[in-house]
């Protein structure tokens, strides 16, 4: 895992959605970068977000592409509440796929996948999203 990407994957250990933000322009950057994609600044920091967002796009996968990853599952793009122009590719969980609607509010939840047996000690947590609790 690249050093400039590590905080994103490790934030889930604390239950935190951690995304890169530019100190100069305040814009979010994802996937993480080395220069702000909005203004080229090197002044990037990690910020803890609310974990809220809305469904910008989704599909219900029906085909088993990868060993150990059985279908069906929902692959989605979630626009982040703090800056909807920044999105995460993720899975939607805890919802019947037929109930998913464009723009529906979702909240982050984390899972820690079984790591490959390759001796690395990366502590990766995947941010997934589930329907947000009602108001």
């Amino acid at each position: 895992m690249a050093d400039h990407e590590r905080p994103f994957w490790e934030g889930g250990a604390r239950g935190e959605l951690v995304v890169q933000r530019c100190r100069e322009c305040g814009g979010l950057n994802h996937p993480p970068t080395m220069r702000c994609r909005h203004d080229g600044s090197a002044e990037l920091e990690w910020t803890v977000l609310s974990g809220r967002g809305h469904v910008e796009g989704w599909t219900v996968n029906q085909h088993q592409w990868l060993p150990g990853v059985p279908a069906p599952y929902v692959v989605a793009l979630v626009a982040l509440a703090e800056d909807p122009s920044t999105r995460l590719l993720t899975n939607l969980v805890g919802i019947d796929p037929a109930e998913i609607r464009d723009g529906m509010e979702v909240q982050v939840t984390f899972v820690r996948p079984e790591p490959p047996d390759d001796g690395l000690d990366d502590d990766v947590w995947l941010p997934l999203f589930a329907p947000a609790a009602g108001p």
Partner: protein, 395 residues
């Protein structure tokens, strides 16, 4: 003084394809040599007159059967003396290798550049279910690190694109079926196509879902085959025994990131940039185009190309293709007249260029359009690969 346009300095002098099949179990280098030798003969050249080579993606392995032969292999197998060569995958779409050849010829580095795209995914993927790229690699880096943990493959990203267009533009499955059904009708006239039996819209609607709302008929079919193209100095046109294919304009621009889930707009692909760049280099307009060969690795990509090339407005491609009349052989804009990749096989973009050249030469055999098209547009590539748009003319 207006600077010289590289397009004006070159012609596409020869095109050819190898045997094409779902699974040929042949050495991909043999397929590549077969196509290359035939394209050189079509260009009216001897092998020893070829002084440049250019290919996509070159010797590499990103997935089983993705690359059939690199520059050094073909150089060695054909025994050439080179003035210039190039290969690689980090070009503006698969046809970037052909653009590189045009630039080399126009710049005087070579006289005749042989270009090819060779693929053997049919045989290499075997008879099992189609796997996602990156399967079995353990930890992954680069853009796939943001996809594979979520089980996300290209078909899923295409499924998101289809669904977003349904939600935002009112695209229907009936409209989405028009390109697969139309391509299949065209493939019936192409003896080299993989699937030639007609399908109906009902067949399409009943197909197995791969990534809802994207179904099996929205996905191209892995195959084995090679396509070769020769780019020559314009002066060579007079020596051909067939009409030369002239290059009116090329567009290669790419403004988004090379990660299609992180583009500016999830309803669009990078054809929006290359198509605009192409039209900036010509006085011709969409209404001047007689035939279109537009990438259909997934059927939804063709919709994006139709819109971005200006044949209809953004979000209107569903209505444009609905019913299939407009894009049929006798329609206002005949589309993917060899069956495209959906029916013809995943020749990874070069089948479209091959077909466009044959149609403007009037040599497409049983599928030659009676209208004898003189202006063809080729749009190849999709999202993360970058794209190339090419406007070709006959005579």
């Amino acid at each position: 003084m207006t600077p010289a346009r590289f397009e004006d300095a070159v012609v596409i002098s020869g095109v050819a394809q190898s045997e094409i099949g779902r699974r040929l179990h042949r050495d991909p280098r043999a397929l590549t040599v077969e196509a290359c030798v035939a394209a050189v003969a079509d260009a009216g050249l001897r092998l020893d007159e070829i002084d440049g080579l250019s290919t996509y993606p070159g010797a590499m392995s990103v997935g089983p059967g993705f690359s059939g032969a690199g520059v050094r292999e073909i150089h060695d197998l054909l025994g050439l003396d080179l003035a210039w060569c190039s290969s690689g995958s980090e070009v503006p779409g698969q046809l970037g290798a052909v653009v590189n050849a045009m630039l080399a010829v126009a710049g005087g580095l070579a006289q005749h550049v042989l270009c090819w795209r060779s693929i053997w995914e049919g045989t290499a993927q075997g008879s099992g279910r189609r796997e996602g790229y990156g399967a079995g690699q353990g930890r992954v880096g680069g853009p796939m690190a943001w996809q594979l943990p979520y089980g996300a493959t290209a078909a899923n990203l295409a499924g998101i694109l289809v669904n977003a267009r349904m939600n935002r533009f009112g695209l229907t499955r009936e409209q989405l079926g028009a390109v697969p059904v139309g391509n299949r009708a065209n493939a019936a006239l192409n003896p080299a196509a993989i699937y030639r039996a007609p399908i109906t819209l009902d067949d399409y609607l009943e197909a197995r879902m791969v990534s809802w709302p994207l179904s099996l008929y929205d996905c191209d079919v892995p195959c084995d085959g090679a396509t070769a193209v020769v780019v020559s100095r314009r002066e060579h046109a007079a020596a051909l025994d067939h009409p030369a294919v002239h290059v009116e304009a090329v567009g290669c621009a790419h403004h988004d990131r090379f990660m299609w889930e992180y583009g500016e707009d999830i309803t669009r692909i990078s054809s929006r940039w290359s198509a605009a760049a192409m039209w900036d280099r010509t006085d011709l307009r969409p209404a001047d185009v007689d035939v279109a060969q537009l990438y259909d690795g997934f059927s939804i990509f063709t919709h994006c190309w139709l819109e971005d090339l200006g044949f209809c407005g953004v979000g209107e491609a569903g209505a444009f293709v609905e019913g299939g009349t407009t894009i049929a052989r006798d329609g206002a804009l005949p589309l993917n007249t060899d069956g495209g990749q959906l029916s013809g096989g995943r020749l990874h973009g070069y089948g479209f260029l091959h077909e466009a050249c044959l149609q403007v030469r009037g040599q497409a055999g049983a599928r030659q359009l009676a209208s004898r098209p003189q202006v063809a547009v080729v749009g190849v590539g999709a999202a993360n690969s970058g794209t190339t748009a090419m406007l070709l003319t006959g005579g």
